[in-house]
């Protein structure tokens, strides 16, 4: 598969299906692993990194018949392509901006991605649309098992899988569920959710993980600790909590409809209007209106537009995607024009 082909499609995780897909965008699980016979990356020179990459690339290639993964050497990718993969959630910013031999393998449907020489030697990630914790765990566990038959991961019987950062050791798992919570944001109830989650050891992050802003009212809820509980127990912790947040968001949406339907209808219709007709628009404004539009569709206030389209627009209106679509480098003001044009085209197709 060529990187250029990706722009023609979007990942399975954006299809907007699966349980609770009106609020839960996607579920992701990642595992951190290191080869036992090598130092962690902070102490690995380029020769060691190259050897780690060679071994892991070979093992990942062996998974291919069952998992059909495409491998990319990140060092040979242009900056724009690396950013493009970050926007698609296939690689982390750390891998994109890192140095030395490193790579990524991902499946055609973009459900699985394996990053080599990120913070740890190997980061396996499985991503699905909607609330799909068990599905993700089953798949990632299987990939991990298959690799484990061939390589020896650093493991300590008391401390579990050993990772470069002690915050990941033990299971090396991070399970995160991405939620769209516009009503909780608008009513500022979201602060209460954050506080409650923090107390039970769950972290809240923005769309692009650690340190990213909560763009478009998207929040990733994930486990903070990795040691002392089994993978299943850590997943269950999330599984128990997420329905409460979903119910909370639904209740607040319901109240908004009941108390002020006209105003809400006006807000989402205006958002739709701007997206359909703007001639230049920033990423921030786009995200904000897409978020309103998404909620409007889910509340039945907007007709003739599908959720997968809106999900896709969140990703395709980002800088690297726009430049790939337009086959060229665009500065910020050119991107704003290209973004508005793209939005008009896509939203016109729908009607």
């Amino acid at each position: 598969m060529k990187l250029e082909e990706l722009i023609q499609s979007s990942g399975e995780w954006l299809r907007g299906e699966g349980p609770e897909a009106d609020i839960v965008i996607s579920t992701r699980i990642r595992l951190a692993r290191n080869l036992s016979q090598f130092p962690f990356l902070t102490r690995a020179d380029d020769a060691a990194r190259a050897e780690i990459e060679r071994i892991l690339h070979a093992q990942i290639a062996r998974l291919t018949p069952r998992k059909a993964l495409n491998y990319f050497d990140v060092t040979t990718l242009q900056r724009l392509d690396r950013q493009f993969l970050v926007e698609r959630q296939l690689i982390s910013r750390e891998l994109a901006e890192g140095h030395g031999p490193r790579g990524v393998a991902f499946s055609n449907a973009e459900n699985a991605s394996l990053m080599v020489n990120e913070e740890d030697h190997l980061r396996i990630q499985v991503l699905h649309s909607g609330l799909a914790l068990e599905e993700c765990w089953k798949e990632i566990n299987q990939i991990d098992d298959m690799l484990e038959e061939q390589v020896s991961f650093a493991f300590h019987q008391q401390l579990g899988y050993l990772t470069a950062c002690p915050t990941n050791c033990g299971t090396g798992i991070r399970t995160s569920v991405m939620l769209h919570l516009p009503a909780l944001v608008q009513t500022k109830e979201i602060q209460k959710v954050f506080q409650a989650l923090h107390k039970i050891g769950l972290a809240v992050r923005g769309l692009y993980g650690e340190g990213s802003q909560a763009m478009g009212d998207f929040y990733q809820i994930s486990n903070q600790t990795t040691l002392g509980k089994s993978e299943e127990a850590l997943i269950k912790n999330l599984k128990d909590v997420i329905p409460n947040i979903i119910a909370y968001e639904r209740r607040v949406r319901g109240e908004m409809v009941k108390e002020n339907k006209q105003q809400l209808h006006d807000m989402v219709s205006r958002a739709y209007g701007i997206l359909k007709s703007a001639q230049t628009i920033t990423s921030e404004e786009t995200m904000q209106h897409l978020s309103s539009l998404r909620m409007g569709i889910n509340l039945g206030l907007i007709e003739g537009l599908r959720i997968p389209t809106v999900n896709e627009l969140f990703i395709f209106t980002q800088p690297a995607h726009l430049q790939k679509l337009r086959h060229g480098t665009l500065d910020s003001s050119e991107r704003n024009i290209a973004r508005a044009t793209y939005l008009r085209e896509r939203l016109a197709e729908q009607n």
Binding site: F40, T42, F155, S212
Partner: protein, 172 residues
């Protein structure tokens, strides 16, 4: 802005006032957690040693500089600076320093999750024993005596099983 310990973006900005001088720190979430935990544990050990509150923290760091992993050569001080370990063996080499840190990060120092399939049978048993002992403790605390008795039997039979081959094996 980037985190001062790793390439991630800085999201937490800490202003620390030591002896009337403000020092700025910029961390990502994970490194901030590490930093804060370290700051706390350093404070704790100073108090335990009965040192005055304004003890020179440099001497403390110099002690940490003496701690070196024989495998990868990283010092504990370097780890504290960058928030990343140098090799898997560091977890053994710096065990005394890391265990309290792990306890404060995770609230536990015992892995209860997946075990790699290729782990030698012997260490699988060791691990199972650790796990069973934890469960026994919990069962006793919950006054589930039937469960506790079952667990005790299982522990004893595992101990017997692993005793024979274990005595022949060299410790690591």
């Amino acid at each position: 802005m980037k985190c001062q310990s790793c390439p991630s973006p800085a999201t937490l900005h800490i202003t620390e006032i030591i002896k009337g001088t403000a020092a700025e720190h910029h961390f990502c979430e994970e490194c901030a957690q590490l930093y804060l935990n370290q700051a706390e544990s350093t404070k704790g050990s100073e108090m335990a040693a009965g040192e005055p509150a304004d003890a020179d923290s440099e001497s403390n760091l110099d002690d940490l500089d003496q701690l070196v992993c024989p495998n990868c050569g990283i010092t504990f001080k370097e780890f504290r600076k960058q928030g990343r370990l140098g090799c898997p063996h560091d977890y053994v080499a710096f065990q005394d320093e890391l265990l309290p840190l792990l306890e404060s990060i995770h609230g536990s120092t015992e892995h209860k999750g997946k075990i790699p399939r290729h782990t030698p049978e012997d260490s699988r048993k060791q691990y199972r024993l650790i796990k069973l002992r934890g469960e026994l403790k919990a069962a006793v605390a919950e006054e589930s005596y039937e469960r506790a008795a079952r667990l005790r039997d299982e522990i004893q039979s595992l101990e017997k099983e692993s005793a024979a081959p274990h005595s022949e094996q060299e410790a690591e």
